[in-house]
């Protein structure tokens, strides 16, 4: 067999003898052929990279959930958690609701999330309308100060708010809150609305600013006020933006720990959030890690459902906002 024939692509198929030089030649030419192929068809390389990256991302994001499931399946007191659960016993998910009023804990958190979202969308829409569609003096400084405010760590505001809500101190020497807010939903809803507002305003400003003036003019000529045009025409047409702002707010508040934990009591009846529900499986002497894990998994469900339902809107909302400003 000549060298020419051995280096020929087809030669390897027939070459059963497999001497060393032949193998090297084969390997080189295979890598070279891949390289050639990928240079000619870059989409193949992208596909491989996509699968690889996707695999990494999926593993890092889904493995914790799988681990949580494993912990939930392990019987109480079991010292090590195997990679594959020894037995599948779904009754822990029911036990979660039997042992503590977990449904009420979840309701409390969902209530906070829902209330704050509605409030933020309403007020944020008015602000977004003003920033996105009106020209007025001091618009840029105002928008900028909003941005600066959103950089403040919320924790720094906890102590003053705690005093104001708890002890009814005179605020700025001007007024005292009429009732003790601490321990009521207002103590969570008010500060969280303030913290989630800037992002919502920015998203809504971008979207409302893109609606053509003609549509608003048409609505006003047809018989709405400016506010009416906002809610009847501008908001429906900005649905992706409103959905994005709403869902981001909802998730932020639902998963919020610091304020909702500290501003309320520890029992479900005292408006404690879902975190308190998870921690309720911990007593002075025992910790039911399996029930805590199961409770955590249950707590994820509402947000997961919301995201699945609204994912189209969120994606179009986020990318649209990103492209236009």
């Amino acid at each position: 067999m000549s060298i020419d024939a051995r280096n020929h692509d087809d030669a390897e198929t027939f070459d059963g003898s497999g001497d060393d030089t032949g193998d090297d030649g084969e390997n080189k030419s295979r890598v070279a052929r891949w390289a050639d192929d990928w240079i000619r068809n870059p989409e193949k390389a992208y596909a491989v990279m996509l699968v690889f990256l996707g695999g990494v991302l999926l593993t890092t994001s889904l493995f914790p959930l799988y681990w949580l499931f494993n912990v939930a399946m392990a019987p109480p007191g079991q010292p090590d958690i195997p990679l594959v659960p020894a037995s599948i016993d779904l009754s822990v998910f029911v036990q979660v609701f039997r042992q503590v009023p977990f449904a009420r804990f979840m309701f409390n958190s969902l209530f906070y999330a829902f209330t704050v979202t509605v409030f933020v969308l309403l007020v944020g829409s008015l602000a977004g309308y003003a920033f996105g569609r009106l020209e007025f003096r001091g618009k840029t400084p105002l928008l900028f100060s909003l941005l600066v405010l959103s950089f403040f760590p919320p924790a720094t505001l906890f102590i003053p708010l705690f005093r104001a809500f708890n002890q009814q101190v005179p605020m700025l020497g001007l007024f005292t809150l009429p009732v003790e807010v601490y321990g009521t939903p207002a103590a969570v809803v008010t500060p969280l609305s303030a913290f989630t507002m800037p992002l919502a305003i920015f998203i809504l400003t971008t979207f409302y600013g893109q609606i053509p003036d003609g549509l608003e003019d048409a609505a006003r000529v047809e018989g709405t006020t400016r506010i009416g045009a906002l809610f009847r025409v501008i908001m429906p047409l900005s649905a992706p933006g409103v959905a994005t702002a709403g869902i981001l707010t909802f998730i932020t508040v639902y998963t919020e720990f610091f304020f909702s934990y500290l501003m309320t009591g520890n029992s479900a009846a005292d408006w404690a959030p879902v975190v308190d529900g998870v921690l309720a499986f911990q007593t002075q002497y025992t910790v039911r890690y399996d029930l805590q894990a199961a409770a955590s998994l249950i707590a994820i469900v509402p947000v997961a459902i919301l995201v699945v339902i609204a994912q189209d809107k969120i994606i179009s909302g986020l990318t649209q906002g990103a492209l236009k400003e």
């Binding site: 549509l215 003019d217 048409a218 609505a219 006003r220 047809e222 018989g223 709405t224 009416g228 047409l237």
Partner: protein
């Protein structure tokens, strides 16, 4: 159906005056076109009437009500927009009935009115379409249906045909005129297209730089323009202009000397500098000079470029350079030459020496400084006619 009256309406944006002391008095049922070049304040004027913009000063009356400070919804107006502005998230029915729903009309009356409006604009059977599923012309018809369904006192139209293609525009123009005949409602129509204004309106209001130049029936604007701006804006192709000096019994301009009697015309005296305007169709070849009502003397010129339009030919003329007076002739050529319109059957070629006459009855004289019209026609009787019915802006 209502009259509309604007008194001293001014709109200022920071240091720009968009509308300057506008006075308009529109009759009930009239079709008025506001025309002017871009940025002349015609859209702003319309917006102040609609209530979308508040005037800096002045007063607006619709019917007998003062509406200056009322929001748009309380003015009894409907508007059709340049960008059509149908609500994209609503179907045709919802778009048309939007204003009725806001006013809580009973369902059966609403159905009836929507169907009637859709019938008028020939959109029956398409009430469940979405705006994205329709052509430009259909959308514009829906927008018009949305405007007529509420039976408004005044229609405002802001370049409603500007975004349509040329053929559709001509169609819609006819439909709008038919609609006006049918509804007999006051229509205020903004356009920068003087052909639209000429063909559709009862009266044209010509605006420039925020000021009303002239408001008059189309033919009056054409034949007796109040000033140089109106003369140049109305009519396509535009009127020819050149500088001239008034002599004792002639009008002298760059080699043209047109005989006229300065004493018979008010406002000019020998030695005055004036702007002379003459439309392309009021220039004649000497061979056709019989068609002119009052032909002037003959002038030798050279043809430059021909633009055959089918029903007429536009001929660009340049003066023949006079070796004795080369400077002035060159200057004249630099200014613009003359444009003449001739019958398509005329035997004429490029770069030919021809002789032309001016129709003296159709020569317009404008004040050199203010641009105001002095006379339409430079013969005594023509001028009398012009003074009689020239409706001029104050």
């Amino acid at each position: 159906m209502s009259r509309v009256k604007l008194t001293d309406v001014t709109k200022q944006y920071d240091d720009v005056t968009a509308v300057d002391n506008m006075n308009l008095d529109l009759n009930d049922g009239e079709f008025i076109c506001l025309v002017g070049p871009s940025g002349c304040g015609k859209s702003t004027t319309l917006e102040t009437i609609a209530g979308l913009t508040k005037p800096t000063s002045g007063e607006i009356l619709i019917g007998d009500r003062e509406v200056t400070n009322l929001p748009p919804k309380d003015r009894g107006i409907a508007m059709v927009f340049q960008n059509i502005a149908l609500f994209p998230h609503m179907d045709v029915y919802d778009n048309i009935s939007f204003g009725l729903r806001l006013r809580s009309f009973p369902q059966d009356e609403m159905d009836e009115r929507v169907e009637e409006a859709a019938r008028i604009v020939r959109m029956e059977g398409m009430l469940d379409r979405m705006p994205s599923e329709m052509s430009g012309g259909q959308r514009q018809r829906v927008a018009i249906a949305r405007a007529i369904v509420r039976d408004p006192e005044v229609f405002l139209m802001d370049e409603p045909l500007a975004n349509l293609d040329a053929k559709l525009r001509v169609n819609m123009r006819t439909e709008l005129q038919r609609l006006h005949k049918q509804l007999d409602t006051t229509i205020i129509y903004v356009t920068h297209n003087q052909a639209e204004a000429m063909t559709m309106s009862d009266r044209i209001a010509v605006l420039n730089k925020g000021e009303l130049q002239q408001i008059a029936p189309p033919l009056t604007c054409y034949n007796q323009p109040a000033n140089r701006f109106v003369a140049g804006f109305i009519g396509s192709p535009s009127m020819n202009f050149f500088d001239a000096t008034v002599g004792d019994d002639t009008l002298d301009a760059n080699g043209y000397s047109i005989s006229f009697d300065a004493t018979a015309i008010d406002g000019v005296a020998s030695g005055d500098a004036v702007d002379v305007g003459i439309r392309p169709e009021d220039l004649y070849l000497t061979t056709n000079s019989a068609e002119a009502r009052d032909p002037s003397a003959t002038f030798a010129v050279e043809t430059d470029v021909l633009e055959p339009m089918g029903d007429e030919i536009f001929v660009y003329l340049k003066p023949i350079l006079d070796p004795d007076d080369g400077g002035e002739a060159a200057d004249f050529e630099e200014r613009q030459g003359l444009l003449m319109s001739v019958d398509p059957a005329t035997d004429i070629g490029e770069d030919e020496d021809v002789e032309i006459v001016f129709d003296r009855a159709q020569i317009h004289l404008f004040d050199d400084r203010t641009g105001d019209a002095i006379s339409h026609g430079v013969v005594a009787d023509a001028n009398v006619e012009a003074v009689d019915d020239g409706v001029q802006a104050d």
